[in-house]
Symmetry: D3
Subunit: 135 residues, 6 copies
């Protein structure tokens, strides 16, 4: 079993806001992250696939194929987007880094052609990152 | 003459949009960067001060003081903000990285207590950065 | 289960020295790291918490709370300190990166309010890092 | 159990090419990575050892010793080399990052004097990295 | 005057070898860098353009255009190439980082549509980088 | 004219303390940086040499020679040392990053065999760095 990681980046706007709570409660929990005028991040995404090496190619998975899968299924939906308003796989959840990470996992888990999705990591800032390995 | 640099980071939303142009012209020039629902970045700011070393302290400038000047004059106005809507020193300009860099210079140039402001650098993504050294 | 990581940095002095051994033995084992006049590092600390996402907040743990826990319990005891002389949780051990990492784990393991401490990582230089996940 | 990581770098040339396939099939699978005139990388290697801390030294393993083991067994065979032509432990395999990672594991697994080899990580570019923890 | 920098990366093979010198002299000067079987690097390129901000766009230069100029004029000639054998603008010079940097400058200096080429920086390893600002 | 940079790192202890001032004044100016039990840093040093490319070698300066000059004249005097007590070229000055940077310049300026010393940069933390280009 070998683990292959592909890194990608995207830039997006979001705000942390729970519509079931009052504005005061939102500010109390989320502080400046709940600014109604939005803020944003340069997110760094790492997608880890686990499996066996194909002796014919020496690859676990052709990372150009993995890159294209990430581009089509994730980056097109989040890059230069508003994660609260425009990203279908985040509808109904607060777009915290935790929920973005889980959402990316769910989008990708059935689309890996060789090996299996092992982990999704998301860096929101240089001080905060998140990882999900499935339920 | 020695050069002392202080680094800071902030997260903000923006869109590139010229209100004097049509929507089509804006999309033509700015592409996905003109998304009306905004996007955002983790900006990295470097402020460079130039001057002489004070033999009493060994400092050109106490970087804790420079940090506080950056916090009060810049970060409070841009961190977790919408640069188009909420940042006074960017009113009337398109908040490209070029204009943000120049705006930060103008905010800081008269507020450095020791030495002189030499350069402002702004990294918008890992592939793009900007520098301004005054008019 | 999701993993949330908070990064922090601190600057400290130390020397590697076992008082039960002779000076010659110390130099033999630790070389220049046993310099009696000390040396120091910019340590980078990563604290990983594992648990479930709270649907009310979208957080595993509010990272501002985790930051404050790290500041109070770790950074106040190690930042700009001498790890041999001044850090209570390192009393009686040689302050190698291994022992600092384990000491930080022990300080934090019962103080995480949401989720559980999963891992402590410590980078001593750009070429050396350490991780501990408990006994 | 603690995990200690030592990082090293090397620069090498390679091409991805399966001699059992036609040139067209090689280009189809490997694209520009199969250029017969070679290309190369700055590889970053991380070797992770797991084990107990020796109370006499505070070390899991003296990282200077681990560095020397990596230098002698790996770097001398790959640094400034052609991985297809000159590296004995890659004979007979396509020198993909996957196979280099596994080859390094096999070279090191029986040469760790204290603790056990836990993982070998190899960064081929800033966007691609690989990890192997044994069969 | 503002300075805008675009970063790009490429992977290439080379060897340091002066055909006017004997093999012994080459080894004496270049050591393992003259390995006849080649070695390679992940080069990081930074291209700096200087000029005025266009008030209509807020740009010095649209960095997507600069990216395309770099791709067409530089990356297509060096990425996954052998710099000794395949890169036209390095014909007749030893492909040291110095000469690659100067060669990239010469390729780009007359192709910048807005502002002027100010500097070309090239990182060959994490410990070595080079800059050229014209003759 | 081309600029060649060599990067090196060292780990050292220091404290900021002016012996001509009272303890209270030292604490007032330097805060926790004046801790009498010391603290330390992983310093990153960049030495920039400027000059012409030798057509015989393609080098401005053989960076292995520059590395050896830095090792002998700087790293042997600062790495794993106490900068207040043990570094001859810092005797009589407060070892702030400013003074260390100037001291390194003075040590190196007459020892560059090819080209001229152009700049010395010193990173003390990830947020603070300094540059000196001579008097």
């Amino acid at each position: 079993m070998i683990y292959a990681t592909r890194r990608a980046t995207f830039n997006a706007a979001h705000r942390l806001f729970n519509p079931n709570l009052s504005d005061e409660e939102n500010i109390d929990i989320f502080g400046k992250c709940s600014n109604p005028n939005w803020h944003g991040h340069n997110y760094v995404l790492e997608v880890v696939v686990a499996g066996e090496v194909d002796p014919n190619t020496g690859f676990l998975i052709d990372l150009k194929i993995l890159r294209d899968i990430i581009n089509k299924n994730i980056l097109e939906k989040v890059d230069h987007k508003n994660l609260n308003l425009e990203t279908d796989f985040l509808k109904g959840v607060i777009p915290t880094a935790e929920n973005i990470t889980i959402g990316i996992w769910n989008e990708l888990v059935n689309k890996i052609p060789t090996g299996k999705l092992y982990s999704v990591k998301l860096y929101e800032t240089e001080n905060n990152y998140f990882e999900y390995k499935g339920a």
